[in-house]
C-alpha cells in the first residue's frame, strides 16, 4: 500500500513539476508576436543571451528563443532535426559542404530572390555572398568571414633576428633559424585534422597552383599527382626536421594556443579569432604579429570560409521578415559597437567597421582582398573525403605512409566515394 502511495505521489509530482518547469519556458502564443527559434553554438553563450534579451526588449512584436549546443552536438542535432522535420527557424552554420546539405535537400530558405530585391550586393561583401551561395542558392545570411594566416611571437622573432617572411624560401629560412635557436618553429596540431589541414592545403595551393587546386577540391583532378605528393613530402620534411611540436598529432586547437602563449612554439596557423583570443586570454597583444603565408606566384591565395545564419525553408513571409529584422539589428553598426569583442569579426557587411584594436584582423582582410581565397578543405571537400585527407596527413606525419602512398590513397578513396554516389 505504501508503495502505491509513493508511486502516486511520484506521478503527481512528475506532472506538476513538469508543469512548473514547462510553463516557465513556454511563452504565451499570441497572434501579434512572431516567435523564432534560433540555434547557436554554446561557446557564444554570452553574446547570444545578451542579444536575445536586448532584441526581444526592443521588439515586442518578435520573440527570439535561443538554443545553445556545443560545436559537435550542434552538427549532430541539426542532422537529427533535419531527419525528423523539426529544424529551428534559424540556425548557425558553416559554409561549404557543412552548410550545403541543407540547400541541397530543400531545408534552408533560398535567399537569392530576397537578396536581389533588397540589394544585398550593396550591403554585404561580395566574397561572403559567393561563399554563402551553395547548390546555386543563397543558403544563408553571411555573418562572419574567416581567412587563415600565420600568427607569430614578435619577441622571439626579434630575439632570433628574423622578420616576417615575404617568400616561401624566406619562410623556410625563418623556420630553420628558429629551430637552431631551440624553438619549435611551427605549431601544427593534428587532433581533429583541421589545424594540420590548413598547412597541407596551403602547400597544395603552392605546388599545384590555384587552377589545379580548385580542380583537386572539386575532385576533378587526380590527387595521385605531383602537387599533392610534393605537399605531403614537404610536410613530412618539416616533421622530420623537428619543426612541429612533440606529439603534434594528439594536440588540438587549444593546445596550439597555449604553445604559442608559453613561447614554446613560435608560429601558429590560425584565423582572425586568434586576435580576439589574445585579448580574452589576457595576453600581451604587443607580443604577437601576423603575416600571410607566402606561397608561389601561380598559387598564392588564402584559405577562407564563411559562417552564416541559415533560415528554415518553411518560414512564412512574416517570419522571414522578422528573421531579417533580427539579423539586420544584430549586425548593425550600433550592435557591433555595443557587443564589441563578443562579435566574431570580420562581419562581411559593407557598413561594418573593425574595432580599432584588432590590427591583425584588418591586415588579414586586406590580404584576403589582395590574394583572393579558396574554400577551406574541410568545407570544400565532401565530409567523407575530408576525413580521408585527415587520415592521410596523420599517416604521413607519423610515418606509416609515404607521401606517394598518401596521394595514391586519397585518389583511391575519392574514386570509391564517387562510385558510391
Amino acid at each position: 500500500m505504501k508503495e502505491k502511495v509513493t508511486l502516486l505521489l511520484l506521478v503527481v509530482s512528475l506532472l506538476s513539476g513538469n508543469l512548473i518547469w514547462a510553463s516557465g519556458g513556454a511563452e504565451e502564443a499570441s497572434d501579434s508576436v512572431t516567435e523564432l527559434t534560433w540555434w547557436n553554438l554554446s561557446s557564444r553563450k554570452e553574446l547570444t543571451e545578451r542579444v536575445v534579451a536586448d532584441f526581444n526588449a526592443a521588439h515586442p512584436d518578435i520573440q527570439i528563443n535561443a538554443v545553445l549546443n556545443s560545436t559537435d552536438d550542434h552538427k549532430n542535432q541539426l542532422m537529427v532535426a533535419a531527419s525528423s522535420g523539426s529544424l529551428p527557424d534559424m540556425w548557425f552554420n558553416w559554409g561549404g559542404t557543412l552548410g550545403s546539405f541543407y540547400p541541397e535537400n530543400g531545408l534552408s530558405y533560398d535567399l537569392s530572390d530576397y537578396a536581389k530585391e533588397n540589394n544585398w550586393s550593396q550591403k554585404y561583401d561580395e566574397s561572403a555572398l559567393s561563399l554563402a551561395t551553395l547548390e546555386g542558392q543563397l543558403a544563408g545570411v553571411p555573418t562572419s568571414i574567416a581567412m587563415i594566416g600565420m600568427f607569430y611571437r614578435k619577441d622571439i622573432f626579434e630575439e632570433c633576428g628574423v622578420t616576417a617572411p615575404e617568400t616561401f624560401e624566406e619562410f623556410e629560412t625563418v623556420l630553420a633559424t628558429l629551430k637552431s635557436k631551440g624553438y619549435t618553429p611551427l605549431i601544427l596540431c593534428g587532433k581533429g585534422g583541421w589545424h594540420l589541414m590548413r598547412f597541407v592545403e596551403a602547400l597544395i595551393e603552392m605546388y599545384g597552383g590555384s587552377a589545379e587546386h580548385d580542380r583537386l577540391a572539386a575532385l576533378d583532378s587526380s590527387w595521385n599527382s605531383e602537387p599533392v605528393i610534393k605537399a605531403f613530402a614537404k610536410f613530412k620534411e618539416y616533421v622530420d626536421l623537428g619543426y612541429l611540436p612533440e606529439g603534434f598529432v594528439t594536440l588540438g586547437g587549444s593546445d596550439a594556443k597555449s604553445l604559442l602563449y608559453a613561447g614554446d612554439g613560435v608560429i601558429d596557423i590560425e584565423g582572425p579569432w586568434m586576435e580576439s583570443n589574445i585579448y580574452n586570454d589576457e595576453q600581451d597583444p604587443d607580443l604577437y604579429g601576423y603575416f600571410k603565408l607566402p606561397l608561389s606566384p601561380k598559387g598564392n591565395r588564402m584559405s577562407g570560409f564563411v559562417e552564416m545564419l541559415q533560415l528554415n525553408a518553411n518560414l512564412s513571409d512574416r517570419e522571414l521578415e522578422a528573421a531579417i529584422t533580427f539579423i539586420e539589428w544584430f549586425y548593425s553598426p550600433e550592435s557591433i559597437n555595443t557587443y564589441g569583442a563578443l562579435i566574431k569579426q570580420p562581419v562581411p557587411r559593407k557598413d561594418n567597421s573593425i574595432p580599432e584594436r584588432l590590427v591583425m584582423t584588418s591586415m588579414m582582410i586586406d590580404d584576403l582582398n589582395t590574394y583572393g581565397s579558396y574554400t577551406i578543405s574541410d568545407q570544400g571537400l565532401p565530409q567523407e573525403i575530408a576525413g580521408k585527407l585527415f587520415e592521410a596527413q596523420d599517416s604521413v606525419g607519423v610515418g606509416i605512409m609515404t607521401p606517394e602512398e598518401a596521394a595514391a590513397f586519397m585518389q583511391k578513396e575519392i574514386e570509391a566515394y564517387k562510385a558510391s554516389k
Partner: protein, 290 residues
C-alpha cells in the same frame, strides 16, 4: 595461521587483538593506491584556482601565484550551474525512484514468480542494453514531438526510464535470485499476497542491490548528456553537462571554468554516494543472519 583476516575473502575469521604493525604494509598499499587515483584530480583543483594567464604558464605543478576563486563564482553564476544543479537533482529525484520501482517489479516477476517464458522475457529486455542510443534519436524525436512531450521533463523521463529498464532489470533480477526461494514458499503458505511478498520481503532483502542501482542510476542521470541535449532545447531546463560543455569552445577551452565547474558539479553526486554506500554495505549481511 596467525592471520586474523582472511585476505582472500576479507571476512574476519575470529575476533582477535591484532598488532597495528602488521597492518602497516596494507595501509601503505592503500594510501599509495589512493594517491595514484587522486593524482589527476590535482589538475582540476590547481587549474580551477588559476587565472587564464597563469594557466598558460609553463609548469604543470606550479601553484597559482595568486589564488583566485573567480572561476568558481563565474562557473556558478555566469555558467548558470546553480540552475543546472537544481534541474539535475529534480530529474534524479523523479527518475531514479520511479525507475527502480518499475524495474524491480519487473525483475521480481521474472526472478521469483515462476512465470512462463521468464528467461525469454529477460533476454528481450537485455537486448535493449545492446542497442546504441544514438540510433534511436530520430524516431524518438518524431515521437515526442507528435505527443507534445518535446521539451518537457515528462517526455525526457519517459525516455530515461526506457533506456534504464534493461540495466535495472539485469541488476535486480541477479540479486533477487540470490535470495533463497524457500522464503517465497513460506510466505505464500502464510497467506502472503504477491504484492506484499514483493514489497515486504523481497525488496527489503535486496537493499544492497537497490542501493547499488540507486547510486549507478543517479550518476547516469546526472551525467546524461546526449538525450537531454536533443529533447530539451530550453536552456533553463538543462542539466550540468550542458553547462560544462559550454566552456569548451570551437577553438579553445576555458580550462579554469571547466575545472571549477566539474568540482562543483561532483559534490551532489558524491553526497548521494556517501549516503547510500552505507546501505548497500549494511543491508544484506544483517538480514541473512537474522
Amino acid at each position: 595461521m596467525s592471520m586474523t583476516i582472511n585476505s582472500v575473502t576479507g571476512i574476519p575469521l575470529r575476533p582477535r587483538k591484532h598488532s597495528k604493525l602488521k597492518k602497516l604494509p596494507f595501509y601503505i598499499c592503500m594510501v599509495a593506491l589512493s594517491s595514484l587515483i587522486l593524482f589527476p584530480i590535482l589538475f582540476l583543483v590547481l587549474t580551477s584556482l588559476k587565472s587564464p594567464t597563469e594557466f598558460f604558464g609553463r609548469s604543470v605543478f606550479s601553484l597559482p601565484r595568486q589564488f583566485t576563486l573567480i572561476n568558481f563564482s563565474k562557473a556558478f553564476i555566469e555558467g548558470k550551474l546553480s540552475r543546472y544543479i537544481l534541474n539535475g537533482l529534480f530529474l534524479c529525484a523523479l527518475k531514479v525512484p520511479l525507475g527502480i520501482l518499475i524495474e524491480s517489479s519487473a525483475a521480481f516477476s521474472i526472478a521469483r514468480l515462476k512465470i512462463r517464458f521468464a528467461n525469454g522475457i529477460f533476454i528481450l529486455f537485455l537486448i535493449g542494453m545492446m542497442i546504441p542510443m544514438q540510433i534511436c534519436l530520430v524516431p524518438l524525436n518524431i515521437g515526442l514531438r507528435t505527443l507534445n512531450l518535446f521539451n518537457t521533463y515528462s517526455g525526457l523521463i519517459f525516455v530515461y526510464l526506457g533506456f534504464g529498464i534493461p540495466f535495472g532489470i539485469l541488476i535486480l533480477r541477479g540479486f533477487f535470485r540470490t535470495i533463497p526461494q524457500e522464503l517465497d514458499e513460506a510466505a505464500i503458505i502464510d497467506g502472503c499476497s504477491k504484492m506484499s511478498l514483493f514489497t515486504k520481503i523481497i525488496l527489503p532483502l535486496a537493499k544492497p542491490a537497490v542501493a547499488t542501482l540507486l547510486i549507478l542510476d543517479t550518476l547516469g542521470t546526472w551525467n546524461e548528456y546526449l538525450l537531454i541535449s536533443v529533447f530539451i532545447t530550453n536552456d533553463n531546463m538543462r542539466t550540468v553537462p550542458a553547462g560544462l560543455l559550454s566552456f569548451i569552445g570551437e577553438n579553445e577551452t576555458a580550462y579554469g571554468l571547466l575545472s571549477a565547474g566539474v568540482l562543483i558539479s561532483i559534490i551532489p553526486v558524491l553526497i548521494v554516494f556517501i549516503i547510500f554506500q552505507r546501505h548497500f554495505v549494511e543491508g544484506m549481511s544483517g538480514a541473512l543472519k537474522g
